[in-house]
Structures are given as C-alpha cells and as structure tokens.
C-alpha cells in the first residue's frame, strides 16, 4: 500500500498521537462524562487507521500488525470476563457473594475519577476490545486488496 502525499503525512505525524490520547481520555472518563469504552475504542482505532492510510505499509508489516491487534482483542475480552467474575474468584479468599458481575470494589464518591468500583476497569477493557476489533477489520480488508495487487505484478 502506497502512502499519501507529503501534506497528509506531516499533518498525520503531528495529530495522530493527540487523537490516540483523546481516545484514552474518553475511555477512562466514561463514568463521568459522555463516552466510555465503545466511544474511546472507536477513536483509538481511528488513530491507527489514520496512520496506516497516511503512511502505507507493505503486506508483511500489515500482517504483523494484524496478528498483534487480534491478540490485543482476545486479551481485552479475557480481561473483561476475568473482572466480571472477580467476585466469584475472590470469594474463595474473602467474604464475597458468589455473583457474576458483582461490583466488588468500593464505589467511592460519585463524580471523582476513582469511583464507581470496577466500571472504569471494564471501560478500559471494552476500549481495548473495540479498538482492536475495528482495526483488525480494517486491516483484513486492506491486506486482501494488497494481495490482489501483488498477484497482478
């Protein structure tokens, strides 16, 4: 995949990192302001897609990226289930009820960034999952068209 013109490349260099950071901010702020794992995850995927579209890459580099991102996707969903069943796991050591999706952390004061028990954690894991899933979808289509072009040569 060829990259785009130098104008796009330079602007992407400046702005991609900031978009990524904005996605992270939306993700961790999900219980206080509009946003959350789904919104932040899509924005993070958008920053990576911007990088790939602007700079381009050869097929091997893209395949490596795809493997890594589908690994992160699997990790995100695994951590989500692990956190959701946290109360069951901890009940062997501590005095918790054995309930799936029990919020086992303290709730804190509503409105602070460290509050709402495990909701910020779940937001982060959903963000990982959604970002990696959308980026993998995009890469699957790009790699497909790359291979077609290679065959033509």
């Amino acid at each position: 995949m060829k990259g785009m013109t130098i104008i796009v490349k330079k602007v992407t260099q400046i702005i991609a990192g900031v978009i990524f950071l904005y996605g992270l901010y939306i993700t961790i702020q999900g219980h206080l302001s509009p946003g959350g794992g789904f919104a932040g995850g899509t924005i993070i995927a958008g920053s990576f897609i911007l990088l790939v579209l602007a700079f381009g890459n050869d097929v091997l580099g893209l395949v490596k990226k795809e493997i890594r991102s589908s690994f992160i996707e699997a990790l995100g969903i695994f951590l989500f289930i692990l956190t959701a069943s946290g109360a069951i796991i901890l009940s062997f050591y501590l005095n918790y009820d054995k309930i799936f999706f029990k919020n086992f952390l303290t709730k804190g004061v509503p409105g602070e960034i460290v509050s709402a028990g495990f909701i910020p954690l779940l937001n982060i894991f959903i963000g990982m999952e959604v970002a990696a899933a959308l980026f993998t979808l995009f890469l699957a289509f790009v790699i497909k068209s790359e291979e077609k072009e290679e065959k033509k040569k």
């Binding site: 219980h31 959350g36 509050s115 709402a116 028990g117 909701i119 959903i126 899933a133 979808l137 068209s145």
Partner: protein, 177 residues
C-alpha cells in the same frame, strides 16, 4: 426542535434513495454516508452525546471499508434488463410495505406522543442509578452495571464477527495448495 428533526429526516431519506438508485457504486457508497452523518446530528439533538461520538467514528470507518471494497472490485451498476418475474416480486414487496405501514399506524396508538415518554422504566434507572452503580453517567452505569450481561454478549458478538471476517478473507493459509 421537531421541525429541525423533520428536515433532517427528509434529507436522510433523500440520501438513502439516491444511495440505492445511483448508477455508480462509489457515489452510492458516498451518499450512504449522508444517512450516517445525519444520524449523528439527530443523536446530538436528541440528547445522546455518547451515541454521537460512537456513530461519527464508526460511520467513517464503515465508509473507508466500503470504499476499499468498491475500489478493489467493480464500480459499475448492473445494467441488464428487468426480467418478467421481477414484477411479481415488486408487487409482492409493495403489498408487504403497505401492510407494514398499516400495522405500524395501528400500533402508534399504543405509543405515547413524541417528547412525552411515559417514564415507567426510566424512573428507576434515573433515581437509583447513581447510588446503585456509582457512575454519574447513567448510560455507562446501565451498560456496565445493570446490563453487564448484555455488554458481555455484545463484545462476544464483536469478537465472533471479527473471527468470521478473518476466516472469510484470509488467503495466507490457502496459498500453498
């Protein structure tokens, strides 16, 4: 407010009709974007900022993927003659559509009017939401606390769909035939 929504809806319907009738597939895909981005503005007007953030990025990604597909396959719309049997399908479709509208208008009586939502279920979530989940964004509270099972199922579907796309599109393993 309601007038603004009506104007936006008419614009979206026009975009949808053009997307279905365009001769060039690329312009069809691009005008499909009208519907998605109009939806973003509707969400903002209807006080759903969470959805607007998600929808605007998702719409962009969908458009990128669709344009990649169209550019790599073909842009030409099918031009062959409409066969006789198609007319039967069209008539059946029209009958189905009228039936659909008829039942919808019947069921409108059961709905409360626009803007006067009977908040039987919502009251519970709005009043007990902050205390119950600890999150002041009630949408996040509902998604991750009250309805955590739904979210788990949803990300499972996402995971499965990605695996499906990879399985369908991957030809790396097949190359050595």
């Amino acid at each position: 407010m309601e007038i603004l929504l009506i104007v936006l809806f008419i614009l979206m319907i026009a975009g949808a009709i053009y997307a279905l009738e365009a001769k060039d597939l690329l312009s069809a895909v691009v005008s499909y974007g009208i519907v998605g981005f109009g939806l973003v503005i509707c969400f903002l007007l209807l006080q759903a900022p969470d959805l607007a953030i998600v929808q605007i990025v998702v719409e962009t990604i969908t458009l990128i993927i669709m344009i990649a597909v169209v550019l790599n396959t073909t842009r030409e719309e099918i031009k062959d003659k409409v066969p006789q049997s198609m007319i039967v399908y069209a008539v059946l479709g029209l009958i189905f559509m009228f039936g659909f509208i008829y039942f919808f208008i019947l069921s409108l009586n059961g709905l409360s009017e626009f803007g006067k939502h009977a908040t039987r279920m919502a009251t519970e979530y709005i009043q007990g939401g902050v205390k119950g989940s600890g999150s002041i964004n009630l949408v996040t509270g509902v998604v991750l606390d009250y309805r955590g099972y739904d979210t788990l199922g949803e990300i499972t579907i996402l995971f499965t769909a990605v695996i499906g796309v990879l399985t369908v599109l991957r030809s790396r393993g097949r190359k050595k035939e």
